[in-house]
Symmetry: C2
Subunit: 478 residues, 2 copies
């Protein structure tokens, strides 16, 4: 998967570099490789890019001036926010001008009464959460990278995360956008409205377009009431089939108070207990599958705890839950969450790992996992599937650890074959080959393979209509 820089495919004459630099100021127009490094290096070292020029505009007007010039001269640009994307969408591979919004970090307005805030694209997700919190509100988007990812990137990729079950993905948190178009014009769609039926839904077209249709410079985000209490439990179940019945019980009982329903098999818990300091076995016995359940309540009146207890009692009576532990304190809840949050890190010491970020209709999750496991065992006997994820979203991070003792490179070489067969299986259930990470570079060839010709044609028509010269993030997504 490692792409190393080839020859610089787009270089810029000094005069053009000067004209770009004049827009942002010379200190924010980077040509020095050391200074460019943070904008070219993907954080897991999966991609290493190259750029004729990295620009760090401070305002929408500067982004607009950059694109006006780039459009006039036919210069390709790659928009970048926090540089935390998982599919290489933010990395310039062919010398493109990188336009980083990292300096655009203003909170333009906070309207606690109306339940909105308007922020610039460079604000980190954690700063968005904190801004909401200071206003007595909740901004519900939650990601492992929230300390460094920036909201412009979350918007550009329609980021997901643990909170999607109750609150929806990034798309659902947005009321309005400000976007600089390919030719430098600014679309002011910064509306703070819950209802607006005046024409095409341009907002949702830009969200998730991965910088190929415009550069998002600001957004009006929804603020929600803060939950006043949470109840958390880890439960053990016999089979993933039982997770489906348990999920439906929990959803019927808690409705939209059900804020997490995360599943993992025993092997994943083994990895976490083995490699993550400070974690410990939640039960005296070991079980096949585990589910982390969280219920949030609007009032601090014990309703969340009562609902969770009632769900667990009913599910135990019906034989769905075979063991359960409810957190009795915030510290205990944190311990349970650590078992979920340590998963990503805990896979690394186990060697090679082939990752999928797929979704299927939730009723198909059990049969999908069973058939995917069979594919993996046929292609690579002894490989260890780690199907885990956000059950209620149908989102399975179908990861596969290499067989113990196998050569890592030999295992990694199987990636294309396994990925293709797993993705074909996903498509047979009407699923998605990228539930929350996007397409970028990593899944571009697979997208072209699994999407219908009609859908690819529709996407290309829209791309041509909005970026006729093809200067925005070329080679990504489409």
């Amino acid at each position: 998967m490692n792409d190393t820089p080839g020859p610089l495919l787009q270089s810029l004459p000094p005069d053009l570099i000067r004209r770009f630099a004049a827009i942002v100021g010379p200190e924010h127009a980077l040509t020095d490789p050391d200074q460019q490094l943070p904008y070219l290096r993907e954080w897991r070292d999966t991609y290493f890019g190259q750029s004729a020029l990295v620009l760090r505009p401070a305002s929408t007007a500067e982004v607009s001036a950059i694109l006006t010039l780039a459009h006039a001269e036919g210069i390709a640009v790659v928009p970048q926010a926090g540089n935390t994307g998982l599919v290489g969408g933010q990395i310039a591979m062919r010398g493109e001008v990188v336009v980083s919004v990292a300096r655009m970090t203003k909170v333009r307005t906070v309207d606690a009464v109306g339940g909105t805030m308007t922020v610039e694209a460079g604000l980190t997700l954690a700063e968005c959460q904190q801004t909401a919190d200071r206003a007595g509100k909740l901004f519900p988007l939650t990601l492992p990278s929230e300390g460094s990812c920036r909201i412009g990137g979350n918007l550009g990729t329609n980021a997901g995360g643990v909170g999607v079950l109750a609150y929806g993905n990034t798309r659902q948190q947005v009321l309005g956008l400000e976007v600089v178009l390919a030719d430098g014009r600014v679309w002011d769609g910064l509306r703070a409205l819950k209802k607006d039926n005046t024409g095409y839904d341009l907002r949702d077209l830009f969200i998730g377009s991965e910088g190929t249709l415009g550069i998002i410079t600001a957004a009006v985000l929804r603020l929600l009431p803060k939950p006043a209490e949470k109840a958390t439990a880890m439960v053990a179940i016999r089979s993933i089939e039982d997770a489906l019945a348990l999920f439906n019980m929990a959803q019927q009982a808690a409705d939209r108070g059900l804020t997490a329903f995360e599943f993992m098999p025993r092997l994943v818990l083994d990895f976490v207990l083995r490699h993550i300091a400070g974690t410990r076995e939640p039960f005296a016995a070991t079980y096949a599958w585990y589910v982390l359940i969280e219920i949030s309540g609007a009032q601090a009146d014990g309703t969340a705890n009562r609902q969770l207890e009632s769900i667990l009692t009913d599910a135990t009576d019906r034989g769905l839950v075979i063991d359960a532990v409810m957190a009795q304190s915030i510290a205990q809840a944190r311990d349970l969450w650590r078992l979920r949050e340590g998963i990503s890190e805990a896979q690394k010491p186990e060697g090679g790992n082939i990752k999928h970020d797929v979704s299927v209709p939730i009723a198909s999750i059990p049969v999908f996992i069973s058939r995917a496991n069979a594919i993996v065992e046929r292609i690579c006997p002894g490989a260890r599937p780690l199907p885990l994820g956000h059950f209620g979203d149908g989102n399975v991070h179908y990861n596969i650890a290499q067989p113990t003792g196998m050569d890592k490179a030999a295992f990694t070489k199987l990636t294309p074959q396994i990925m293709r067969e797993v993705h074909d299986l996903v498509m047979s259930y009407g699923g998605s080959i990228s539930a929350e990470h996007g397409i970028g570079q990593t899944r571009r060839a697979e997208l072209a393979r699994v999407k219908s010709d009609v859908e690819l044609d529709l996407m290309r028509r829209i791309k041509s209509a909005l970026d006729p010269k093809g200067i925005l993030n070329p080679g990504k997504m489409l």
Copy 2:
């Protein structure tokens, strides 16, 4: 506002009529004016259309064949579902071929476990609700016209309604779509996925596009858990400013359990009590403003009632609520709702009525109403504003009844001037001139006037990309 048919601007040679008729069968290809009448007459008699041919296809394949032929021959078509739209978007004005989806009423699948159903565009909204109900689930979209409007029209216009506050508008109820494109190709986007980040959001582009980008033939709709209990109250407040504080209290307390928060001034209640049989004064005294509040609970454990009581007690202590009545039975709740639901009908006997369907940020509702009233009083002294609607959505149906005793025609003549000034005021708050009804014919000129050139250009580029010959619903929206 009455448009009468002019000369038939598009007529079809007999051979072409035969070729279209061969697709759907001659009995479903209507040229006889009497047979065409239900498809040409707008139900309030605001528009009366004309069509060379009304086609009633029975399947997606037939819709596809119709558009393939229409595209090849350059024939304009007007898609139509339940013919209940309020802005004339569904009426053929210039002889276009009407394509009615009213015969496409199959429920293709219901997946109660996965929480989805796939239905065809001709199913009425009431049938959608009943299908969900039979599966033990809730389909939350609710409209006064639900017995006759069809889901394809709801999707095409992104319909709103009373349930938007808690459940979102039509857009939020949709997971996937099947759309016949302008050239007859079928986009199969019938995905039942909660998370799918594989390319541009085509689904939301078609939803709300009012038949100008494609004909929606089927959809995968979300099913939600049914509320197990509801608590309902009518409260009296001193001023619309107090509604804002009360709304924020209610939302903080009930969060997404708050399923209705509808406001109306005394004059509206006067009209309802005067003209709607079986309604009665909710309080011993009369007050300036009324709010209908509903809270829904996932469990039948009395939580909804307790939450509502607690809100009313707190709000009364703070002086926000000056009188309140809580429904003690389902019959009493129905009586309170009748006061809201009778509003539309109650306005007719009072003479001329100028209607707006606007939204503004909710914190701006009070000042918007006050300034709009001043505009109305300046232009037409004695006119009676009836600002009412869905407070939590920022959606004000800013209607104006004519002054008592004024000539109706003289009042109606003031419509353009009043509408322009009210819409300018709306735009000054970053609002929307059509919160839930759409643009169609009625608001087309106003849309062109209030939208930025950049936004109109983006919309036109998308229209040209997806319907290069301009055959889909010409003269509507754009």
